[in-house]
């Protein structure tokens, strides 16, 4: 039996897909839909830049998690601290991956704020895009919680005391029982310690990425439904 040419295999696959789903039509619609010329302005790229940075953060985060050990240990012997040190100094290109994750997070916050400023300035939050604005604000909050939770992970003195202050502020919510409950939830004990690191790690690596991916999906669905907003 003659081996079919790869082009024939490709055509057969496309035909097979087309018989089950309007595949080529969907691809054409997605690729060749027209976009207003004003959307070529540079300030309409900020949202895309935020998306690129979030993907970069997810990828570098996965790579860092291969070596990071979320165990605070005891004073003077902290596997978490040692693992970050290992990533920074020994792991192949670890310093670069950690550097990209660190600077990517910083630039991400700047880009989110710039994107938000553009949306506000051009009135792109107005009807029918109110819900998308709200999703965006929640995503901003999530990105800030990402930064807060990620800050503790290296488990050095700076991270420890900055987190202690954050938890103290959150734990001072009235009434006293509610404040104590929040502190207990965040801290997992009487002081900032190994359970705190475990909780922050879980939030940073499992909960927040899932939430941000979900909200990004909702954000993009809204954008796809509404299209690009009119200029001012």
């Amino acid at each position: 039996m003659a081996i079919p040419h790869p082009r024939e295999i490709q055509l057969a696959v496309v035909q097979w897909l087309d018989e089950r789903y309007p595949f080529t039509k969907s691809v054409d619609e997605a690729l060749y839909q027209r976009v207003p010329n004003f959307a070529n302005a540079f300030y309409y790229c900020f949202g895309g830049m935020v998306f690129i940075l979030i993907v970069l953060q997810l990828l570098t985060g996965i790579l860092l998690s291969l070596y990071y050990v979320p165990d605070a240990g005891v004073i003077g012997n902290s596997p978490a601290y040692d693992s970050v040190k290992y990533i920074q100094s020994t792991a192949y290109l670890g310093w670069l991956i950690r550097g990209i994750h660190f600077w990517g997070a910083n630039i991400l916050i700047i880009m989110v704020l710039i994107h938000m400023a553009r949306v506000y300035w051009t009135g792109s939050y107005r009807a029918p895009r109110e819900l998308n604005w709200m999703v965006g604000i929640v995503m901003l909050l999530i990105i800030l919680v990402f930064s807060l939770s990620g800050y503790l992970l290296p488990w050095d003195t700076k991270a420890y005391f900055a987190t202690e202050v954050t938890i103290k502020i959150a734990g001072s919510a009235p009434p006293a029982q509610l404040g104590a409950f929040i502190r207990e939830i965040l801290q997992g004990g009487a002081v900032v310690g190994p359970p705190t690191l475990q909780r922050f790690f879980t939030v940073h690596v499992f909960l927040l990425p899932a939430l941000i991916v979900l909200l990004m999906y909702v954000h993009f669905r809204f954008i796809r439904a509404h299209g690009i907003s009119e200029p001012m």
Partner: protein, 226 residues
């Protein structure tokens, strides 16, 4: 029409026998780039899997609603691929190179301090994006500055589209304006936003000035940087 009474008119011999029907709704009412103007990357092209990969993203995002471009003349619009898409791979590479260079040249901020020790004495200082909040907390009673004002500001931001839509026209009527423009053309919401950003910038700069930079204040005076 009855076949017996039908007669071909002048020019029938050269006229198209089948009148092409443009199916406006075949693409959900959207105007697409005409086929003859598209890149010649069809289902038999070696690069077709690549364009399918690009198309998967919008496909997964669901059906497109009625977009502004659908009502615009052709000369005011362009196709998503490749005209609108091409800057993004370049932007992605530029951003990757930028963070890579920062990671390479600005190592200072990445260096670890000594391992966490609760017995250590240190003045905590948050990252730059929380410095304004850190400084703001010092300007009044802690409870109000930390747990009242920031959540209120957050809720105002969250509900801003509704505040703008309901309150804006009322203010416009009182001012004698015909419409309530977007913040970029609106003195009130535009200036309000600039003032808000200026306050955040000033608080950040104040914090960055360090603990030796102190200013008199109505509460907790003097208030120093972080």
């Amino acid at each position: 029409m009855d076949e017996t009474t039908r007669k071909d008119g002048p020019g029938a011999a050269t006229a198209a026998t089948v009148i092409p029907i443009i199916e406006v709704d075949s693409h959900g009412g959207h105007v697409l780039e005409p086929e003859w103007k598209r890149l010649p990357i069809g289902p038999d092209h070696i690069l077709y899997p690549v364009v399918v990969g690009l198309a998967l993203f919008p496909i997964l995002m669901g059906a497109a609603g009625h977009h502004l471009a659908d009502d615009m003349p052709d000369e005011d619009t362009h196709p998503f691929f490749p005209d609108h898409f091409w800057p993004y791979p370049i932007i992605a590479v530029v951003m990757l190179v930028t963070v890579g260079l920062l990671a390479f040249f600005v190592q200072k901020d990445l260096q670890l301090e000594v391992p966490a020790d609760p017995r250590a004495v240190t003045v905590p200082r948050p990252d730059w994006y929380f410095l304004f909040l850190f400084q703001f907390l010092k300007l009044g009673p802690e409870l109000i500055m930390s747990l009242v004002i920031p959540p209120v500001v957050f809720v105002v931001f969250l509900l801003w589209p509704f505040i703008d839509a309901i309150g804006g026209p009322k203010v416009a009527r009182r001012m004698g304006w015909k419409t309530w423009p977007v913040p970029g053309r609106n003195f009130i919401t535009g200036a309000g936003y600039v003032i808000f950003l200026a306050i955040i910038a000033l608080l950040t700069l104040w914090a960055l000035a360090g603990p030796q930079f102190c200013l008199p204040w109505i509460i907790n005076s003097p208030v120093c940087g972080a």
